[in-house]
Each structure stands twice: as C-alpha cells, then as structure tokens.
C-alpha cells in the first residue's frame, strides 16, 4: 500500500463518502487511488468553492467534510474557503498536494508554503514527511476539526509521500493527544451559579450564536427557554437555533438586526450568551454590554470568554452538554418573567421597520417571506453576502430547517458552492441559494459542477445590477458619490442558464411572485431564478 491508498483508507475509516476537489500533478496519486474507492469525488470549477462546498456539507452533516486540491495555485486558491470556515468554526479537513519533499523550499513549479500561508486561520496544520504517519495524522486531524471549537485542519502531503510505501497500515481506534484536550463538560460550580442567577433574574435573555448549531443543541436550547420562559435572541450565525416564529424568539441582534432584539438585549438584567463571540456585528460596543446586567458567557473556547467583554460568570464547555447539566439541576424561579416576555412581545409588535418598496420591482422583504412560507419545513436556505444577506436574515422564516451564510468572514460567492455541499449532504432536502448579482458572478462557474454531478440546487439571484451593500454604504457615507459599484457588463442570466441547460425564471415585480415561486420550488432540477430588485432599495432606510 502506498501513501495515497492510505489516505483513502483513512477517509473511509472516517466515513467520508464524498470529497470536493480539483486535481493536479502534486495530488495525482490521490486522485488515482480514489478510483478504487467508493468515495465520490466532486470536481468543482475553482478550488475556493471546494472548501465552501465542504463547509456547506459539514454544516448539514454535522462533522468535518473534506476538500482535496493540488499544490501551489490549487492550495492558495483554497485559502479564502479555509478562512471562511475558520471564521465560522466549521470543521473541514483540507488535503493539499505538495511538491516532492526534497524540493520543498527551492521554489520549484507549483510550490507554495501552504501550511505557512494558512497558519493564522486554521485550527491546525500538518506537513506529512513520512507516509507511515498518515494514519495518525488523519486521525488527529479529524479529531481536532470535529471537537472543541470546530475548525479547519490542513494536511499538506508531498507527492513522494503519497507514492511511498506504507508499512503495516492500521487506523488508530482511539486518539490521545498530549496537548489537545478540549473541555466539554461545564464546571459544576459555575453551572450552579447560572441557575442561581436565573432564579433571581427579572429580565433574563439568552443570546445564541453558531455554537448552538455546531454543538447540535437546538432542541436543548428550546427546552431550556420554554421551561424557564426565557426569551431568546440570536446572532447571524445563530439564526434558526429557535424557529423564527417561536413565541420566545425575538430576532437577530446587531447593527443589521432587529431593533426590538437589540432593545431586549439592552434592557435585560441577565444575559446568557451561548456559543457566540460577542463580535462587533452582533454587539456594537461589547464593553458596554455588561453595564447594569449580569453576563453569563458559555462557550467551548476559553479564549472567547472575556475577549470582548468580561463576563460575570464564565462557563467553558459544549453548549449541548451544558444544557444537559443545567437540566439536571432543579431551578426554582423566584421571579416570574411573564411581564418581561409581554414587554418584549409588545416591542416586537410595535417596533417593526416599515419599508417603502418600489412596486415596479420585486420587494425582497415580501419575496423572501413568501418563499420561506412555500419552502418545506426542513429546507436549507443559503444566503450569500451583501444586501441579499441582510434581507435574508431579516425576513427569512426558519421552521425546522437551516439557515446558512458566511457570517464571520462575509465571503461573497459562498452561497452557491455551500448550497451545493449542503445538497450533497442532504439530497432529500430542499436547498435554495440566494445571492446578489455580484456574489453570483463570483461562483457562477459552479453551475457546471451542479450540472455535471446532478446536484439539484435552486438558485435565486437578486439582480440590481449593482454591488448593493457597498453602494448603500457609499450612499450614506459618501453622499451618493459612487465608485466601482456598477455591474454593467454582466451577462444575461437567461442565456447563462440556457448555456448550462438550466431552467430559468425571471420575476420582474411582485405580481407573479407566488406563481413563479411555486414553479421554482416544484421543479426537481436545478433552477436559476432572477429577481429584479430596485437598485435604489436599501436594507436600512435612514
């Protein structure tokens, strides 16, 4: 057995059924060996999208997905995808081919120091020097990616190591790492303090982040919130942790969030952050968040606690595990929160933003709500980045499915490849990618991938012929002095769809919206739907 065969064996041992990748000379032995395996390789059209697809796959499948690319430009192209996954703590194992180990450092053809280049946004990286280390390294890589605070791991493998003989291959059943032991269980004393504070609180609130999804703690969260009648708000990454229309859910916080969610956060006297970083987009001035309230910060990453705001009660551990521990403690509430919940319900009713849509175009707010209502209960909605993302966050209604987006990095072009990965992970679920015409053109080449591999993703492009969110920023910050936000020269999407053999729909205004959404969702193939959006439309009217 050679190194490349060993890699395949390791992936099989990790129950990997699919890899997203792009071949090249330095990864040729791997792509040769994969032919003898049942692992399905999906050829993307640009390496960045291999990582995004793996990200979408991992987020739906709940464990690390794999992308495989070649050395040099293949590896450097995948960097944005790795950084995107790192920012959102998505588990990936990214295999990169490398030039012959004896040539490393001599700047030969297609050589790039990828482990060096990705150092600041991987959880860990390996450069494999001995083929016999492959089983241990893969075991460790999946363990690191899938535990603690999840994240991407890069394994760089020189081509000669892929070709070298592996003696006595055996995949380790157990893993012990001297230096890496993530905390899962919450400290009992801290757990007690949480219930103590909860019992005394008059206006408690839970703010959830992406950690709830990563930990698979959605039902535990719901149980906890309902049992103690604690209202819930979320960050962008936390959307869908509680169904949007759950009576205790009060929307997304932050500068792009609901004003009633921010007000709820402000007026609370006990804030329980779970699996959220208190990042700048969610909490504008984290140093003020602790004023006049108790802050409990629950996170699996010790370093996140106290990074942006000093909590009263730090609690390190996995969200799901901690909810279980909290469940075991009986908490007698001394104060009922009914008034508080009623107050927030009142805010939710009265603080709705009004929009003044232009009837000559599609109103993204109404459109997204209509689409959400017609999508299936467990469907997956993938929002890109830009105005479309803010509209999606604001108006999409999650029932039992998922809402995916690039929250931390805000990577344009994420939606289409991530939706592709999500669809591969869940072929029976409805998957819809929603992008702007800017982001769509960043990953449009993946239409070929969905055609080639028969991945029926539904795609909506909000077309306003402009980089809307940047344009909106220039409108507010530069008094309408626009620079480089005009997308003139973009292709006719009808012809693009035709070129790929995809069904195409174009929605001009809201008159035919319902009918068109029905036909869009009813089609069991990939459909490209273009919605004409008013270029003057704003996510925030001032």
């Amino acid at each position: 057995m050679i190194g490349a065969d060993a890699i395949i064996k390791c992936l099989e041992a990790e129950n990997i059924e699919v890899v997203f990748g792009y071949p090249g000379m330095a990864i040729a032995p791997f792509f040769n060996s994969i032919r003898d395996s049942s692992i399905r390789p999906i050829l993307v059209r640009s390496e960045q999208n291999a990582a995004h697809a793996a990200s979408g796959h991992a987020r739906i499948n709940g464990k690390a997905a794999v992308c495989v690319v070649t050395s040099g430009p293949g590896a450097t192209n995948v960097i944005t995808g790795i950084a995107t996954a790192f920012a959102d703590s998505i588990p990936l194992v990214c295999i990169t081919g490398q030039v012959n180990s004896e040539l490393i450092g001599s700047d030969v053809f297609q050589e790039a120091d990828i482990t060096g280049a990705v150092e600041s946004f991987v959880k860990y990286s390996y450069l494999v020097k001995d083929a016999n280390d492959i089983p241990r390294i893969f075991k460790e890589a999946f363990f690191i990616a899938n535990t603690g605070r999840r994240g991407p791991v890069v394994i760089d493998i020189p081509v000669d190591v892929q070709l070298a003989t592996v003696k006595n291959y055996s995949y380790p059943a157990e893993i012990t790492m001297r230096t890496y032991k993530p905390t899962v269980k919450g400290h009992a004393v801290q757990i007690k303090k949480v219930t103590g504070e909860l019992a005394r609180a008059k206006r408690p609130i839970i703010c959830v982040g992406g950690g709830i999804h990563l930990s698979g703690a959605a039902s535990e969260l719901r149980d906890f919130a309902e049992r103690y009648q604690v209202p819930v708000v979320s960050t962008m990454m936390g959307i869908g942790a509680l169904p949007t229309r759950h009576p205790l859910y009060f929307g997304m916080v932050g500068n792009n969030g609901k004003n009633y969610a921010n007000r709820a956060l402000d007026e609370s006297d006990l804030l329980i952050m779970v699996g959220a970083r208190l990042a700048d987009r969610a909490v504008n001035r984290p140093e003020h968040i602790t004023k006049g309230k108790i802050l409990i910060h629950i996170d699996v990453d010790t370093a996140e606690i106290g990074k942006n705001a000093g909590p009263t009660i730090p609690l390190v551990g996995d969200a799901k595990q901690i909810f279980h521990q909290l469940r075991e403690l009986e908490c007698e509430l001394t104060i009922k929160h009914d008034d508080w919940v009623t107050t927030l319900e009142n805010y939710r009713e009265t603080m709705k933003r009004t929009r003044t849509p232009n009837p000559a175009y599609v109103d993204p707010a109404v459109f997204i709500r209509l689409l959400a209502d017609k999508m299936t209960d467990d469907s997956i909605y993938v929002a890109d980045v830009g105005q479309n993302q803010i509209w999606s966050c604001t108006y999409y209604i999650v029932r039992g499915g998922r809402f995916l987006t690039s929250g931390g990095m805000g990577t344009m072009g994420y939606a289409l490849p991530a939706a592709m990965g999500a669809k591969v992970a869940a072929p029976d679920r409805q998957v819809v990618a929603v992008c702007g015409d800017g982001g769509f053109q960043m990953s449009m080449m993946e239409l070929a991938t969905i055609c080639q591999h028969d991945i029926p993703v539904k795609i909506i492009v909000f077309k306003n012929n402009s980089l809307g969110l940047v344009r909106e920023y220039q409108h507010h910050a530069y008094d309408d002095r626009y620079s480089c936000v005009d997308l003139d020269g973009s292709p006719d999407l009808c012809q693009i769809a035709a070129a790929y053999g995809l069904t195409f729909l174009r929605l001009h205004d809201m008159n035919e919206a319902e009918m068109m959404i029905d036909s869009f969702l009813a089609n069991d193939k990939s459909v490209l739907m273009e919605c004409m959006i008013d270029p003057l439309d704003l996510v925030k009217e001032r």
Binding site: G116, K123, M177, T179, T302, A303
Partner: protein, 165 residues
Amino acid sequence: MQKKVFQLLVDNNVGVLSRISGLFARRGYSIESITAGITADPRFTRITIVAAGDELILVQIEKQLAKLIDVREIKELLPERSVYRELALIKVKVPVDDRQGVISLVDIFRANIIDVAPESIIIEMTGDQDKIDAFISLLEGFEILELARTGIAGLTRGTEKVTYL
C-alpha cells in the same frame, strides 16, 4: 502596561516556534523576549516568553497560547516564586590602558571576560534583566561595539506543579 513571564512546554513539532511568534504578530501582542530550548525529553521544548500589555491583553495572550494545539502546558512565572536568568555578551572598545577599570566592574558584577583583543574585550554576563541593565548603564564611559542578549529563561522555585522534563 505590565510585563508577564510565561513558561511554555510545547511539542517539538515542525513550525512550533513560528506558530507561537505568529500568534503574537497577527493579534498585535507585543513580545519582549522569547527563548526556546530542548528539554530533557527531546520531544519537548521549553519556551520562556516575556510579554507586555494591559491585564486584559495578558490574559488573552495566555488563553490564546494555551489554545495552540502544540502547547502542552503554560504557566505564568511569578517573580516571587521563580528565577529568571539572561545571558548577555558585550563587546566593549577598551584601549589597553583603560582595561583595569572595566575588569574591576566585571569583578563586582561577577561577570567574565571571555575574549581579549588588542582594542576590545568581550564580557559574558548572566543575571536577571535588571542586573544586566544596571551593568550596561555602568559601562557608559566606554564604547559598546556590539551587544547580544538572549532574553530570559526561567523556572519556578520548588517542586510544586512541576512537569519533570
């Protein structure tokens, strides 16, 4: 601004030093000195870092370092419970006639002269940073040609919470 001395025990993996120094660089933490050397067990390296920042930053530095996969152990070396030593090599320009003055300074500080050239000498000195700073300031009347300082290495006193390596 405060200073803290951290002692790390790390797996001797490829690139471990660059992972640690890279962490300081990308998060904008300041590093005053860093020393690294192999331990009694060649699989591990002991690193002593002197970092500066306000309390919040220093806590973050400790947490972020602890988070690195290669870091097996991190502890703060508190001045009252630890010893620190630094090595300095100082090349001083001394005409033959003035040598005696330098030699007496060297004796007072229990330093050593390890090289003598016609117009210069090299002094080797070990001590904590304050002692070395004091010695250098006393050499003011002479011309220091070259100076090499290693940064401190440190260990805790006693046997409490010791990882034997």
